[in-house]
């Protein structure tokens, strides 16, 4: 039984279910070795070892977060220096207009604030979220992915995508019920 086109809509890709995280990891390394690039595994929780099996490269988010933190720290110090020592110097109990110790708490908090907001929003932006619709959401079975099901979906736009051959690969890798997903 091969996956069959059912409707007029264009094909988005193929979806295969796997019985557990281990089977999914094995299948992922098969798909990776076959040279596919536009595909993804779907799991209810992060599965360790799957990144290697899929060949996912480490994300650049840590670098962004580092630079955001450095910006927050430097910006915090500069802001306090400019506001309290240059633009509006005001004498408080004979203290110096600018001294690092008194300015550390605010600079520290701004470091953490900018770095944390960057970590959060970079995760969303790099992941393309929020994305309120996706062709996979139309599939009834796919909804169990956030409970206890494991899937691999291969995008039809992948240069290596071929309905027959991709279907065979997914089945051969242990995928059950390979389905057409419409655009």
């Amino acid at each position: 039984m091969s996956a069959a086109p059912k409707a007029e809509r264009a094909l988005w890709g193929l979806l295969a279910e796997f019985p557990d995280a281990d089977a999914l990891t094995h299948a992922a390394s098969r798909v990776r070795d076959a040279g596919y690039v536009r595909w993804d595994a779907y799991t209810p929780f992060p599965v360790h070892g799957l990144d290697d099996a899929m060949g996912v490269r480490p994300t650049r988010i840590p670098w962004l977060v580092f630079f955001a933190g450095a910006t927050g720290c430097l910006g915090g110090v500069l802001m306090q220096w400019w506001m309290n020592a240059v633009d509006y110097p005001i004498i408080i109990s004979g203290k110096p207009f600018f001294s690092l110790p008194a300015n550390i708490p605010v600079a520290f908090e701004l470091t953490i604030l900018l770095a944390s907001l960057t970590a959060f929003f970079a995760m969303l932006v790099f992941n393309g979220l929020p994305q309120l619709h996706h062709p996979l959401f139309r599939n009834e079975r796919f909804r169990r992915t956030t409970t206890d099901a494991f899937f691999i979906a291969i995008d039809a736009k992948d240069p290596r995508f071929d309905v027959e051959e991709t279907d065979r690969l997914l089945r051969g890798a242990g995928g059950t019920r390979v389905e057409w997903i419409e655009e």
Binding site: A21, D22, T25, H26, A28, D40, A41, Y42, T43, P44, F45, P46, V47, L50, D51, M54, V56, P58, T59, I61, P62, V65, G69, Q80, M83, N84, D87, Y88, I92, A102, N103, P105, V106, F108, E109, L110, I112, L113, A115, S116, L117, A119, F120, A122, M123, F126, N127, L129, P130, Q131, L132, H134, L136, F142, R143, R144, T145, T146, T147, D148
Partner: protein, 468 residues
């Protein structure tokens, strides 16, 4: 296959201290679907338990009272409080420091235990984080209203204004604004980020259109993609790493409000670590106070297991003794410094007009947690609940003692005074509890109170090693 089938020890008790066997974190033989079912059932039930309605009615009425007394304060002026010279801080700052402290356990459980790979945190981190958010909301209320002229609040923000004036960054009160504001923002990001996969679970199980749309928007289109999980986990780790120094800094900065002053009893270098230990102590007490009834009412005893309670009791015991040590060292240093005024302040704390508050604090914070040396006490929910309640009372009195005894007795007897709260202050305190519990009860009803995706990630799996 469930855990029970794999592990014959997986019963209802996972408190064994046998070091050769790792105890299960989830009981009752629950599998992935079972965890989802158990947690989502609370949110999806057509009606919450009766106890929820009763608790909500009480909490919401107190929130209403809070609104009224705050309105009365703003329209009349801070004279409606019992504050005066020399005691110009009373219930307001006591409540602020108390609530910020309560907020600490959530981030501690989420961030520090995450970095330390303490997997048991997954059962309790979600509602501890929620508790943090709500406690910080309650805390932010007090510095907000205690200035009296709340419409000038924006002066503390570094905004260009019509007076061509900037805030004074050498003031610890301004550091507070940055510290607590950052803490709230980061905790909110951390909490929401953890919620995204679980909101997606509820969206995918939704039976009605309204739920599907509401949870669908909140879940931001999460679909469990591994490429997404990869960035998600890295960001989550970074947030945990950033929140860890943050949580330790927040109460340190709050303690600077006191420690940078010249008043005897406040001018102490032990304040930052002492305040942080006290905050963790009080925060864990609140987590226990909430988790004991919640796990019973909502049938979560398999996810928030006896071991979770036992671990938290041990933390309570440890931090309680740190706080006790701080009380003792304050006395020692005041004697050792040879400063007679400093020495007097501490003797006055224990034997002066506010001795009743001091000894309430000692009994609740130092004596009460000692019962947790006994394993039977650590496994009895009633005792745990009682001690947790006592610690919350004790931690509130700790802040009251620090603030009021010092302000009422400083260097010169001519500037001594006393302080009695008015009914407005008492109702504001009760109202802040109302606000906290109202928000918490709404959270319990509409959001998953256990981090399902995280619990699943730490559950034992069959044949994990066989396919290397």
């Amino acid at each position: 296959m469930g855990v029970a089938a794999l592990d014959p020890r997986a019963g209802r008790d996972n408190t064994s201290q046998d070091p050769t066997a790792r105890q299960p974190l989830v009981l009752g033989g629950l599998d992935d679907a079972g965890v989802t079912e158990r947690v989502c059932a609370i949110v999806e039930a057509p009606k919450p338990p009766k106890a929820w309605y009763v608790a909500f009615a009480i909490a919401a009425s107190f929130t209403g009272i809070l609104g009224l007394v705050v309105l009365y304060l703003i329209t009349t002026g801070v004279g409606v409080w019992g504050l005066n010279k020399p005691v110009s801080w009373g219930f307001d700052i006591t409540n602020f420091v108390f609530w910020v402290g309560i907020g600490h356990a959530g981030t501690l459980i989420s961030a520090i235990l995450y970095l330390f790979r303490q997997r048991w945190r997954t059962g309790i981190n979600r509602f501890a984080e929620a508790m943090t958010i709500f406690a910080v909301i309650c805390a932010l209320l007090f510095p907000g209203i205690h200035v009296g002229r709340i419409w000038f609040e924006y002066w503390i923000a570094p905004l260009p204004n019509q007076m061509d004036m900037w805030p004074n960054f050498r003031s610890p009160l301004l550091w507070d604004f940055f510290a607590v504001g950052t803490y709230f923002t980061v905790s909110l990001c951390f909490w929401y980020m953890g919620l995204i996969p679980d909101l997606a679970t509820i969206r995918d199980r939704a039976k009605t259109k309204v739920r599907q749309i509401a949870y669908g928007i909140a879940a931001l289109g999460w679909r469990g993609s591994n490429r997404h999980w990869h960035r998600y986990e890295r960001s989550y780790l970074l947030l945990a790493g950033l929140a860890t120094p943050l949580v330790l800094s927040v109460h340190s900065v709050v303690s600077f409000d006191f420690a940078t002053s010249m008043l005897p009893g406040w001018h102490a270098t032990i304040f930052p670590p002492y305040f942080v230990a006290g905050a963790i102590f009080g925060g864990f007490a609140m987590v226990l106070l909430l988790s004991v009834p919640c796990r019973a009412w909502f049938g979560l005893k398999d996810l928030i297991t006896p071991r979770h309670l036992e671990n938290m009791c041990k933390i309570l015991l440890a931090t309680g003794m740190m706080v006790g040590y701080a009380y003792a060292i304050e006395f020692f240093i005041s004697w050792y410094s040879g400063n007679p005024v400093e020495g007097f302040v501490f003797v006055n704390r224990a034997f002066g007009p506010y001795a009743w508050a001091y000894w309430t604090m000692v009994m609740c914070n130092v004596a009460a947690p000692q019962v947790f040396w006994s394993r039977r006490a650590r496994s009895n929910p009633w005792i745990i609940f009682g001690v947790a309640a006592a610690v919350n009372v004790g931690m509130w009195f700790e802040r009251f003692v620090i603030i009021v005894t010092t302000l009422s007795r400083d260097y010169l007897p001519s500037s001594w005074g006393s302080y009695t709260p008015t009914w407005v202050e008492v109702l504001t305190l009760m109202g802040s509890f109302g606000l906290f519990f109202t928000l918490f009860l709404v959270f319990l009803r509409f959001l998953p109170m256990v981090a399902m995706a995280e619990v699943k990630a730490v559950m034992p799996r069959p044949h994990r090693e066989a396919h290397r």
